[in-house]
Protein backbone atom coordinates (compact mmCIF):
# COMPACT_ATOMS: atom_id res chain seq x y z
CA UNK A 1 0.00 0.00 0.00
CA UNK A 2 1.17 3.53 -0.67
CA UNK A 3 1.62 4.44 2.97
CA UNK A 4 3.81 1.47 3.75
CA UNK A 5 6.32 2.60 1.16
CA UNK A 6 6.08 6.18 2.46
CA UNK A 7 6.78 5.02 6.01
CA UNK A 8 9.81 3.06 4.86
CA UNK A 9 11.19 5.85 2.71
CA UNK A 10 14.74 6.92 3.47
CA UNK A 11 14.52 10.67 4.01
CA UNK A 12 17.59 12.67 3.00
CA UNK A 13 18.99 13.77 6.34
CA UNK A 14 18.86 17.48 7.03
CA UNK A 15 16.57 18.12 4.08
CA UNK A 16 14.21 21.02 4.60
CA UNK A 17 12.28 23.71 2.77
CA UNK A 18 10.71 26.91 4.05
CA UNK A 19 6.99 27.35 3.48
CA UNK A 20 5.45 30.80 3.77
CA UNK A 21 1.84 31.92 3.98
CA UNK A 22 0.37 35.24 2.92
CA UNK A 23 -2.84 35.98 4.85
CA UNK A 24 -4.35 38.90 3.00
CA UNK A 25 -7.42 40.96 2.20
CA UNK A 26 -6.62 40.45 -1.47
CA UNK A 27 -7.84 42.62 -4.33
CA UNK A 28 -11.52 41.89 -4.75
CA UNK A 29 -12.79 41.24 -8.28
CA UNK A 30 -9.65 42.76 -9.80
CA UNK A 31 -7.33 39.97 -10.99
CA UNK A 32 -4.75 42.35 -12.45
CA UNK A 33 -4.41 44.03 -9.06
CA UNK A 34 -4.36 40.51 -7.60
CA UNK A 35 -1.40 39.67 -9.83
CA UNK A 36 0.40 42.83 -8.68
CA UNK A 37 -0.17 41.83 -5.06
CA UNK A 38 1.04 38.32 -5.93
CA UNK A 39 4.26 39.75 -7.32
CA UNK A 40 4.82 41.90 -4.22
CA UNK A 41 4.13 39.10 -1.78
CA UNK A 42 6.25 36.65 -3.74
CA UNK A 43 9.20 39.04 -3.69
CA UNK A 44 8.75 39.55 0.05
CA UNK A 45 8.54 35.81 0.72
CA UNK A 46 11.63 35.15 -1.42
CA UNK A 47 13.56 37.85 0.46
CA UNK A 48 12.59 36.21 3.73
CA UNK A 49 13.99 32.88 2.54
CA UNK A 50 10.80 31.07 1.54
CA UNK A 51 10.92 28.23 -0.97
CA UNK A 52 7.14 28.08 -1.39
CA UNK A 53 4.45 30.71 -0.79
CA UNK A 54 0.82 29.67 -0.15
CA UNK A 55 -2.02 32.19 -0.63
CA UNK A 56 -5.78 31.96 0.01
CA UNK A 57 -8.65 30.35 -1.89
CA UNK A 58 -9.52 32.27 -5.08
CA UNK A 59 -6.70 34.65 -4.20
CA UNK A 60 -6.46 36.20 -7.67
CA UNK A 61 -10.08 37.37 -7.72
CA UNK A 62 -11.40 37.16 -4.15
CA UNK A 63 -13.84 34.50 -3.03
CA UNK A 64 -17.29 36.06 -2.71
CA UNK A 65 -17.74 36.83 -6.40
CA UNK A 66 -21.23 35.48 -7.03
CA UNK A 67 -22.09 33.48 -10.17
CA UNK A 68 -21.82 36.25 -12.78
CA UNK A 69 -18.43 37.61 -11.74
CA UNK A 70 -17.06 34.10 -11.19
CA UNK A 71 -17.96 33.30 -14.79
CA UNK A 72 -16.64 36.61 -16.12
CA UNK A 73 -13.33 36.33 -14.28
CA UNK A 74 -12.71 32.59 -14.77
CA UNK A 75 -9.34 31.94 -16.34
CA UNK A 76 -7.77 29.26 -18.40
CA UNK A 77 -4.58 27.58 -17.16
CA UNK A 78 -3.00 28.39 -20.52
CA UNK A 79 -4.16 32.00 -20.44
CA UNK A 80 -2.23 35.23 -19.78
CA UNK A 81 -2.95 35.56 -16.06
CA UNK A 82 -1.58 32.15 -15.08
CA UNK A 83 1.26 32.86 -17.52
CA UNK A 84 1.99 36.07 -15.59
CA UNK A 85 1.91 34.16 -12.27
CA UNK A 86 4.38 31.65 -13.70
CA UNK A 87 6.71 34.52 -14.56
CA UNK A 88 6.37 35.87 -11.00
CA UNK A 89 7.42 32.49 -9.58
CA UNK A 90 10.29 32.09 -12.05
CA UNK A 91 11.62 35.60 -11.45
CA UNK A 92 11.55 35.18 -7.66
CA UNK A 93 12.83 31.60 -7.86
CA UNK A 94 10.23 30.25 -5.45
CA UNK A 95 7.15 28.06 -5.82
CA UNK A 96 3.62 29.45 -5.49
CA UNK A 97 0.26 27.97 -4.57
CA UNK A 98 -2.89 30.10 -4.85
CA UNK A 99 -6.55 29.80 -5.75
CA UNK A 100 -8.29 31.08 -8.86
CA UNK A 101 -11.58 30.51 -10.72
CA UNK A 102 -10.73 28.04 -13.47
CA UNK A 103 -12.54 27.89 -16.79
CA UNK A 104 -13.28 24.20 -17.50
CA UNK A 105 -15.20 23.89 -20.75
CA UNK A 106 -18.41 25.84 -20.17
CA UNK A 107 -18.16 25.57 -16.40
CA UNK A 108 -16.11 27.17 -13.65
CA UNK A 109 -14.14 25.25 -11.00
CA UNK A 110 -12.80 26.47 -7.66
CA UNK A 111 -9.16 25.59 -8.33
CA UNK A 112 -5.69 26.08 -6.92
CA UNK A 113 -2.42 25.79 -8.77
CA UNK A 114 1.09 24.84 -7.73
CA UNK A 115 3.67 26.62 -9.84
CA UNK A 116 7.26 25.62 -9.11
CA UNK A 117 10.34 27.81 -8.77
CA UNK A 118 11.14 27.60 -12.49
CA UNK A 119 7.61 28.66 -13.40
CA UNK A 120 6.21 25.25 -14.36
CA UNK A 121 2.60 24.38 -13.50
CA UNK A 122 3.02 21.23 -11.43
CA UNK A 123 -0.51 20.65 -10.13
CA UNK A 124 -4.01 22.02 -10.68
CA UNK A 125 -6.35 20.91 -7.91
CA UNK A 126 -10.13 21.42 -8.17
CA UNK A 127 -12.14 21.66 -4.94
CA UNK A 128 -13.95 18.37 -4.38
CA UNK A 129 -16.32 19.40 -1.57
CA UNK A 130 -18.38 22.49 -2.42
CA UNK A 131 -19.56 24.66 0.49
CA UNK A 132 -23.22 25.64 0.52
CA UNK A 133 -24.96 28.00 -1.87
CA UNK A 134 -21.99 30.34 -2.14
CA UNK A 135 -19.80 27.66 -3.78
CA UNK A 136 -22.61 25.90 -5.63
CA UNK A 137 -23.78 29.17 -7.14
CA UNK A 138 -20.35 29.81 -8.66
CA UNK A 139 -18.93 26.39 -9.48
CA UNK A 140 -20.40 23.79 -11.79
CA UNK A 141 -17.52 21.35 -11.77
CA UNK A 142 -15.59 19.71 -8.93
CA UNK A 143 -12.45 17.65 -8.60
CA UNK A 144 -12.80 13.92 -8.10
CA UNK A 145 -9.33 12.95 -6.96
CA UNK A 146 -6.70 13.97 -4.40
CA UNK A 147 -3.39 13.93 -6.27
CA UNK A 148 -0.01 14.05 -4.59
CA UNK A 149 3.06 15.16 -6.51
CA UNK A 150 6.80 15.16 -5.84
CA UNK A 151 8.49 18.53 -5.28
CA UNK A 152 11.90 19.29 -3.80
CA UNK A 153 12.20 15.82 -2.27
CA UNK A 154 8.82 15.82 -0.60
CA UNK A 155 5.31 14.71 -1.54
CA UNK A 156 2.72 17.43 -1.66
CA UNK A 157 -1.05 17.74 -2.11
CA UNK A 158 -3.57 20.59 -2.19
CA UNK A 159 -6.99 20.83 -0.54
CA UNK A 160 -9.28 23.87 -0.69
CA UNK A 161 -11.12 25.23 2.36
CA UNK A 162 -14.16 22.99 3.10
CA UNK A 163 -12.24 19.98 1.69
CA UNK A 164 -10.03 19.85 4.78
CA UNK A 165 -13.04 19.66 7.11
CA UNK A 166 -13.64 16.15 5.76
CA UNK A 167 -11.06 13.90 7.39
CA UNK A 168 -11.15 11.74 4.28
CA UNK A 169 -9.44 14.44 2.18
CA UNK A 170 -6.15 14.67 4.05
CA UNK A 171 -6.30 10.94 4.80
CA UNK A 172 -6.40 10.14 1.09
CA UNK A 173 -3.35 12.33 0.56
CA UNK A 174 -1.48 10.84 3.52
CA UNK A 175 -2.22 7.33 2.21
CA UNK A 176 -0.76 8.42 -1.12
CA UNK A 177 2.40 9.47 0.73
CA UNK A 178 1.88 13.20 1.29
CA UNK A 179 4.37 14.96 3.57
CA UNK A 180 2.79 18.40 3.15
CA UNK A 181 -0.75 19.53 2.35
CA UNK A 182 -1.39 23.10 1.21
CA UNK A 183 -4.81 24.55 1.98
CA UNK A 184 -5.89 27.83 0.38
CA UNK A 185 -9.06 28.77 2.25
CA UNK A 186 -11.75 31.43 2.83
CA UNK A 187 -12.90 30.65 6.36
CA UNK A 188 -15.68 32.73 7.89
CA UNK A 189 -17.21 33.15 11.34
CA UNK A 190 -18.28 31.15 13.32
CA UNK A 191 -15.90 28.40 12.18
CA UNK A 192 -12.96 29.22 14.48
CA UNK A 193 -12.83 25.56 15.51
CA UNK A 194 -11.67 24.67 12.00
CA UNK A 195 -8.65 26.97 11.99
CA UNK A 196 -7.81 26.56 15.67
CA UNK A 197 -8.47 22.87 16.38
CA UNK A 198 -9.23 20.90 13.23
CA UNK A 199 -6.17 22.06 11.28
CA UNK A 200 -3.59 20.93 13.89
CA UNK A 201 -5.65 17.74 14.41
CA UNK A 202 -5.42 16.94 10.67
CA UNK A 203 -1.65 17.44 10.77
CA UNK A 204 -1.30 15.22 13.85
CA UNK A 205 -3.58 12.37 12.77
CA UNK A 206 -1.97 12.13 9.33
CA UNK A 207 1.57 12.99 10.43
CA UNK A 208 1.91 15.64 7.76
CA UNK A 209 2.86 19.29 7.58
CA UNK A 210 -0.15 21.46 6.80
CA UNK A 211 -0.18 25.07 5.57
CA UNK A 212 -3.60 26.71 5.95
CA UNK A 213 -3.78 30.11 4.20
CA UNK A 214 -6.90 32.17 4.87
CA UNK A 215 -8.25 35.53 3.77
CA UNK A 216 -8.81 38.27 6.33
CA UNK A 217 -11.04 41.34 6.15
CA UNK A 218 -14.33 41.14 4.28
CA UNK A 219 -15.77 41.00 0.78
CA UNK A 220 -19.29 42.12 -0.08
CA UNK A 221 -20.55 41.45 3.43
CA UNK A 222 -18.71 38.16 3.92
CA UNK A 223 -16.13 38.28 6.75
CA UNK A 224 -13.00 36.13 6.99
CA UNK A 225 -11.37 35.20 10.26
CA UNK A 226 -7.70 34.88 9.33
CA UNK A 227 -6.12 32.46 11.84
CA UNK A 228 -3.91 31.00 9.10
CA UNK A 229 -1.31 28.55 10.35
CA UNK A 230 1.48 26.14 9.54
CA UNK A 231 1.31 22.94 11.60
CA UNK A 232 3.81 20.13 12.04
CA UNK A 233 3.35 16.35 11.81
CA UNK A 234 3.06 16.08 15.61
CA UNK A 235 0.26 18.68 15.59
CA UNK A 236 2.55 21.49 16.74
CA UNK A 237 1.43 24.94 15.61
CA UNK A 238 4.66 26.27 14.05
CA UNK A 239 3.31 29.65 12.95
CA UNK A 240 -0.10 31.23 13.46
CA UNK A 241 -1.78 34.46 12.39
CA UNK A 242 -4.42 36.54 14.10
CA UNK A 243 -7.09 38.40 12.16
CA UNK A 244 -4.91 41.01 10.38
CA UNK A 245 -2.92 40.69 7.14
CA UNK A 246 0.12 38.58 8.10
CA UNK A 247 3.11 36.79 6.62
CA UNK A 248 4.04 33.45 8.20
CA UNK A 249 6.94 31.08 7.59
CA UNK A 250 8.00 27.70 8.96
CA UNK A 251 10.49 25.01 8.08
CA UNK A 252 9.32 21.70 6.61
CA UNK A 253 11.88 19.26 8.00
CA UNK A 254 11.80 15.74 6.59
CA UNK A 255 14.09 14.42 9.33
CA UNK A 256 11.59 15.61 11.95
CA UNK A 257 8.75 14.09 9.92
CA UNK A 258 10.54 10.74 9.85
CA UNK A 259 11.21 10.93 13.60
CA UNK A 260 7.52 11.61 14.35
CA UNK A 261 6.47 8.68 12.16
CA UNK A 262 9.01 6.40 13.85
CA UNK A 263 7.77 7.38 17.32
CA UNK A 264 4.09 6.90 16.56
CA UNK A 265 3.16 4.58 13.70
CA UNK A 266 -0.32 6.12 13.44
CA UNK A 267 -0.73 5.32 9.77
CA UNK A 268 0.52 1.74 10.13
CA UNK A 269 -1.82 1.23 13.13
CA UNK A 270 -4.90 1.91 11.00
CA UNK A 271 -7.30 -1.02 10.44
CA UNK A 272 -8.61 -0.36 6.93
CA UNK A 273 -10.46 -3.68 6.73
CA UNK A 274 -12.86 -2.28 9.35
CA UNK A 275 -13.53 1.00 7.52
CA UNK A 276 -15.70 -0.16 4.60
CA UNK A 277 -18.74 2.08 5.23
CA UNK A 278 -16.59 5.21 4.91
CA UNK A 279 -16.19 4.54 1.19
CA UNK A 280 -19.66 3.23 0.38
Amino acid sequence: MAIASAARRAYPSGMSVNVAICQTEGRFADPDAGLELLAQETAAAASAGADLLVLPELFLTGYNLGPDRARALAMNCEGPRIERARAVAREAGIALCFGFPEQVGDEVANSAVLIDEVGAVRLIYRKAHLFGDVDRGMFGVTGDRFPVIAWRGLSLGIAICYDIEFPETARMMALAGADLVLVPTALMPPYYVVADALVPARAYENQIYLAYANHCGSEEGLDYIGHSSICGPDGAVLAKAGTAPTRLMAKIDLAHLAEVRRRDPLLADRRPSLYGPIAS
Copy 2:
Protein backbone atom coordinates in the same frame (compact mmCIF):
# COMPACT_ATOMS: atom_id res chain seq x y z
CA MET B 1 -27.37 4.97 3.95
CA ALA B 2 -27.39 5.14 7.72
CA ILE B 3 -26.52 8.79 7.93
CA ALA B 4 -29.29 9.87 5.61
CA SER B 5 -31.88 8.42 7.96
CA ALA B 6 -30.10 9.97 10.96
CA ALA B 7 -30.13 13.38 9.29
CA ARG B 8 -33.84 13.08 8.59
CA ARG B 9 -34.74 11.86 12.05
CA ALA B 10 -37.36 13.93 13.88
CA TYR B 11 -35.73 14.80 17.19
CA PRO B 12 -38.09 15.12 20.16
CA SER B 13 -38.04 18.83 20.84
CA GLY B 14 -36.46 19.90 24.13
CA MET B 15 -35.02 16.43 24.70
CA SER B 16 -31.76 16.45 26.63
CA VAL B 17 -29.64 14.37 28.99
CA ASN B 18 -26.79 15.41 31.25
CA VAL B 19 -23.46 13.68 30.74
CA ALA B 20 -20.82 13.83 33.46
CA ILE B 21 -17.14 12.94 33.44
CA CYS B 22 -15.00 11.85 36.35
CA GLN B 23 -11.32 12.66 35.71
CA THR B 24 -9.49 10.75 38.41
CA GLU B 25 -6.25 9.24 39.65
CA GLY B 26 -8.19 6.00 40.18
CA ARG B 27 -7.15 3.15 42.47
CA PHE B 28 -4.22 1.46 40.81
CA ALA B 29 -4.28 -2.35 40.62
CA ASP B 30 -7.03 -2.56 43.27
CA PRO B 31 -10.39 -3.20 41.59
CA ASP B 32 -12.30 -3.43 44.88
CA ALA B 33 -11.10 0.04 45.79
CA GLY B 34 -11.92 1.03 42.19
CA LEU B 35 -15.49 -0.16 42.75
CA GLU B 36 -15.72 1.87 45.95
CA LEU B 37 -14.53 4.96 44.07
CA LEU B 38 -17.04 4.16 41.32
CA ALA B 39 -19.84 4.10 43.88
CA GLN B 40 -18.73 7.45 45.40
CA GLU B 41 -18.38 9.16 42.03
CA THR B 42 -21.67 7.75 40.77
CA ALA B 43 -23.49 9.06 43.83
CA ALA B 44 -21.86 12.47 43.38
CA ALA B 45 -22.76 12.60 39.68
CA ALA B 46 -26.36 11.56 40.38
CA SER B 47 -26.64 14.28 43.05
CA ALA B 48 -25.41 16.82 40.55
CA GLY B 49 -28.15 15.79 38.10
CA ALA B 50 -26.16 13.59 35.72
CA ASP B 51 -27.94 10.96 33.63
CA LEU B 52 -24.70 9.26 32.52
CA LEU B 53 -21.22 9.23 34.08
CA VAL B 54 -18.14 8.48 31.94
CA LEU B 55 -14.88 7.38 33.58
CA PRO B 56 -11.39 6.69 32.17
CA GLU B 57 -9.90 3.76 30.25
CA LEU B 58 -9.37 0.71 32.50
CA PHE B 59 -10.84 2.75 35.32
CA LEU B 60 -11.50 -0.24 37.60
CA THR B 61 -7.86 -1.36 37.67
CA GLY B 62 -5.75 1.50 36.34
CA TYR B 63 -4.15 1.43 32.91
CA ASN B 64 -0.42 0.76 33.31
CA LEU B 65 -0.79 -2.76 34.70
CA GLY B 66 1.71 -4.65 32.60
CA PRO B 67 0.92 -8.11 31.17
CA ASP B 68 0.87 -10.15 34.38
CA ARG B 69 -1.41 -7.88 36.38
CA ALA B 70 -3.68 -7.31 33.37
CA ARG B 71 -4.16 -11.07 33.15
CA ALA B 72 -4.60 -11.51 36.91
CA LEU B 73 -7.15 -8.69 37.19
CA ALA B 74 -9.10 -9.39 33.97
CA MET B 75 -12.79 -9.79 34.67
CA ASN B 76 -15.70 -11.49 33.06
CA CYS B 77 -18.77 -9.46 32.13
CA GLU B 78 -20.86 -11.98 34.05
CA GLY B 79 -18.57 -11.88 37.10
CA PRO B 80 -19.02 -10.25 40.52
CA ARG B 81 -17.21 -6.97 39.80
CA ILE B 82 -19.32 -5.99 36.79
CA GLU B 83 -22.34 -7.25 38.79
CA ARG B 84 -21.36 -4.83 41.57
CA ALA B 85 -21.00 -1.97 39.07
CA ARG B 86 -24.49 -2.77 37.74
CA ALA B 87 -25.85 -2.45 41.28
CA VAL B 88 -24.08 0.91 41.65
CA ALA B 89 -25.77 2.22 38.48
CA ARG B 90 -29.17 0.83 39.46
CA GLU B 91 -29.02 2.24 42.99
CA ALA B 92 -28.03 5.70 41.76
CA GLY B 93 -30.44 5.53 38.83
CA ILE B 94 -27.88 6.77 36.29
CA ALA B 95 -25.97 5.13 33.45
CA LEU B 96 -22.23 4.41 33.68
CA CYS B 97 -19.46 3.98 31.13
CA PHE B 98 -16.00 2.90 32.31
CA GLY B 99 -13.05 0.81 31.18
CA PHE B 100 -11.93 -2.56 32.54
CA PRO B 101 -9.69 -5.45 31.47
CA GLU B 102 -12.06 -8.03 30.02
CA GLN B 103 -11.42 -11.75 30.07
CA VAL B 104 -12.21 -13.08 26.57
CA GLY B 105 -11.50 -16.80 26.44
CA ASP B 106 -7.80 -17.13 27.22
CA GLU B 107 -7.07 -13.55 26.23
CA VAL B 108 -7.58 -10.09 27.70
CA ALA B 109 -9.24 -7.17 25.90
CA ASN B 110 -9.11 -3.46 26.70
CA SER B 111 -12.86 -2.98 27.07
CA ALA B 112 -15.41 -0.44 28.20
CA VAL B 113 -18.97 -1.11 29.26
CA LEU B 114 -22.14 0.95 29.14
CA ILE B 115 -24.47 0.03 32.00
CA ASP B 116 -27.81 1.81 31.92
CA GLU B 117 -29.75 3.41 34.76
CA VAL B 118 -31.57 0.19 35.60
CA GLY B 119 -28.31 -1.74 35.80
CA ALA B 120 -28.47 -3.50 32.43
CA VAL B 121 -25.29 -4.01 30.39
CA ARG B 122 -26.14 -2.29 27.11
CA LEU B 123 -22.81 -2.32 25.29
CA ILE B 124 -19.36 -3.86 25.69
CA TYR B 125 -16.84 -2.17 23.38
CA ARG B 126 -13.36 -3.62 22.84
CA LYS B 127 -10.56 -1.24 21.81
CA ALA B 128 -9.90 -1.71 18.09
CA HIS B 129 -6.62 0.23 17.79
CA LEU B 130 -3.96 -0.89 20.27
CA PHE B 131 -1.36 1.67 21.33
CA GLY B 132 2.27 0.60 21.21
CA ASP B 133 3.97 -1.95 23.42
CA VAL B 134 2.02 -0.95 26.51
CA ASP B 135 -1.32 -2.06 24.98
CA ARG B 136 0.08 -4.93 22.94
CA GLY B 137 1.82 -6.36 26.00
CA MET B 138 -1.47 -6.55 27.88
CA PHE B 139 -4.14 -7.22 25.28
CA GLY B 140 -4.35 -10.19 22.93
CA VAL B 141 -7.75 -9.47 21.46
CA THR B 142 -9.25 -6.35 19.87
CA GLY B 143 -12.68 -5.24 18.75
CA ASP B 144 -13.48 -5.31 15.07
CA ARG B 145 -16.60 -3.19 14.90
CA PHE B 146 -17.89 0.21 16.04
CA PRO B 147 -21.39 -0.44 17.35
CA VAL B 148 -23.93 2.30 18.05
CA ILE B 149 -26.86 1.65 20.39
CA ALA B 150 -30.02 3.53 21.30
CA TRP B 151 -30.23 5.00 24.81
CA ARG B 152 -32.64 7.62 26.15
CA GLY B 153 -33.64 8.76 22.67
CA LEU B 154 -30.14 9.18 21.34
CA SER B 155 -27.63 6.99 19.52
CA LEU B 156 -24.41 6.33 21.35
CA GLY B 157 -21.06 4.67 20.68
CA ILE B 158 -17.86 4.07 22.64
CA ALA B 159 -14.22 4.49 21.54
CA ILE B 160 -11.20 3.93 23.77
CA CYS B 161 -8.22 6.34 23.85
CA TYR B 162 -6.03 5.73 20.74
CA ASP B 163 -9.17 4.71 18.78
CA ILE B 164 -10.33 8.33 18.62
CA GLU B 165 -7.03 9.48 17.08
CA PHE B 166 -8.06 7.62 13.92
CA PRO B 167 -10.69 9.76 12.20
CA GLU B 168 -12.21 6.56 10.83
CA THR B 169 -13.42 5.48 14.30
CA ALA B 170 -15.77 8.37 15.04
CA ARG B 171 -16.68 8.59 11.34
CA MET B 172 -17.90 4.99 11.37
CA MET B 173 -20.06 5.77 14.40
CA ALA B 174 -21.41 9.00 12.88
CA LEU B 175 -22.29 7.13 9.68
CA ALA B 176 -24.18 4.62 11.84
CA GLY B 177 -26.14 7.54 13.31
CA ALA B 178 -24.26 8.31 16.53
CA ASP B 179 -25.26 11.47 18.39
CA LEU B 180 -22.81 10.94 21.26
CA VAL B 181 -19.47 9.14 21.47
CA LEU B 182 -18.00 8.26 24.88
CA VAL B 183 -14.21 8.01 25.08
CA PRO B 184 -12.60 6.52 28.20
CA THR B 185 -8.91 7.32 27.78
CA ALA B 186 -5.44 7.26 29.37
CA LEU B 187 -3.66 10.09 27.55
CA MET B 188 -0.04 10.82 28.38
CA PRO B 189 2.45 13.59 27.59
CA PRO B 190 3.28 14.85 25.01
CA TYR B 191 -0.10 14.26 23.35
CA TYR B 192 -1.81 17.48 24.46
CA VAL B 193 -2.87 18.08 20.85
CA VAL B 194 -5.20 15.09 21.10
CA ALA B 195 -7.15 16.36 24.11
CA ASP B 196 -7.00 20.04 23.17
CA ALA B 197 -7.46 20.05 19.37
CA LEU B 198 -8.33 16.62 18.00
CA VAL B 199 -11.24 15.97 20.38
CA PRO B 200 -13.19 19.14 19.48
CA ALA B 201 -12.28 18.56 15.81
CA ARG B 202 -13.80 15.05 15.94
CA ALA B 203 -16.99 16.47 17.45
CA TYR B 204 -17.17 19.21 14.80
CA GLU B 205 -16.39 17.12 11.73
CA ASN B 206 -18.90 14.41 12.70
CA GLN B 207 -21.48 16.73 14.27
CA ILE B 208 -21.64 14.65 17.42
CA TYR B 209 -21.31 15.22 21.13
CA LEU B 210 -18.10 13.72 22.48
CA ALA B 211 -17.20 12.98 26.11
CA TYR B 212 -13.47 12.36 26.60
CA ALA B 213 -12.65 11.07 30.11
CA ASN B 214 -8.97 10.87 31.01
CA HIS B 215 -6.93 9.79 34.00
CA CYS B 216 -4.78 12.30 35.85
CA GLY B 217 -1.80 11.75 38.12
CA SER B 218 0.58 8.88 37.41
CA GLU B 219 0.84 5.09 37.63
CA GLU B 220 4.15 3.25 37.85
CA GLY B 221 6.04 6.04 36.13
CA LEU B 222 3.40 6.73 33.47
CA ASP B 223 1.93 10.24 33.69
CA TYR B 224 -1.54 11.27 32.51
CA ILE B 225 -2.41 14.77 31.40
CA GLY B 226 -6.08 15.08 32.34
CA HIS B 227 -7.60 17.68 29.99
CA SER B 228 -10.87 15.71 29.84
CA SER B 229 -13.67 17.47 28.02
CA ILE B 230 -17.22 17.37 26.74
CA CYS B 231 -17.57 18.86 23.25
CA GLY B 232 -20.64 19.79 21.23
CA PRO B 233 -21.56 19.00 17.61
CA ASP B 234 -20.33 22.42 16.47
CA GLY B 235 -16.94 21.76 18.10
CA ALA B 236 -17.72 23.94 21.14
CA VAL B 237 -15.87 22.89 24.29
CA LEU B 238 -18.76 22.68 26.78
CA ALA B 239 -16.72 21.58 29.79
CA LYS B 240 -12.98 21.09 30.21
CA ALA B 241 -10.68 19.89 32.98
CA GLY B 242 -7.12 20.85 33.80
CA THR B 243 -4.65 18.34 35.19
CA ALA B 244 -6.22 17.72 38.64
CA PRO B 245 -9.02 15.32 39.60
CA THR B 246 -12.19 16.98 38.29
CA ARG B 247 -15.90 16.40 37.78
CA LEU B 248 -17.42 17.81 34.59
CA MET B 249 -20.99 17.94 33.33
CA ALA B 250 -22.72 19.19 30.17
CA LYS B 251 -26.10 18.90 28.55
CA ILE B 252 -26.57 16.75 25.43
CA ASP B 253 -29.31 18.62 23.58
CA LEU B 254 -30.83 16.89 20.57
CA ALA B 255 -32.56 20.08 19.40
CA HIS B 256 -29.17 21.83 19.23
CA LEU B 257 -27.71 18.81 17.45
CA ALA B 258 -30.47 18.94 14.85
CA GLU B 259 -29.96 22.69 14.40
CA VAL B 260 -26.19 22.24 13.82
CA ARG B 261 -26.85 19.51 11.25
CA ARG B 262 -29.42 21.68 9.48
CA ARG B 263 -27.00 24.63 9.29
CA ASP B 264 -24.06 22.61 7.96
CA PRO B 265 -24.82 19.38 6.13
CA LEU B 266 -21.24 18.13 6.66
CA LEU B 267 -22.18 14.47 6.58
CA ALA B 268 -24.40 14.83 3.52
CA ASP B 269 -21.64 16.79 1.74
CA ARG B 270 -19.23 13.83 1.95
CA ARG B 271 -18.22 12.17 -1.34
CA PRO B 272 -17.82 8.51 -0.34
CA SER B 273 -17.34 7.34 -3.92
CA LEU B 274 -13.96 9.13 -3.85
CA TYR B 275 -12.79 7.55 -0.58
CA GLY B 276 -12.06 3.96 -1.64
CA PRO B 277 -8.39 3.79 -0.57
CA ILE B 278 -9.33 4.57 3.05
CA ALA B 279 -10.99 1.16 3.34
CA SER B 280 -8.54 -0.92 1.34
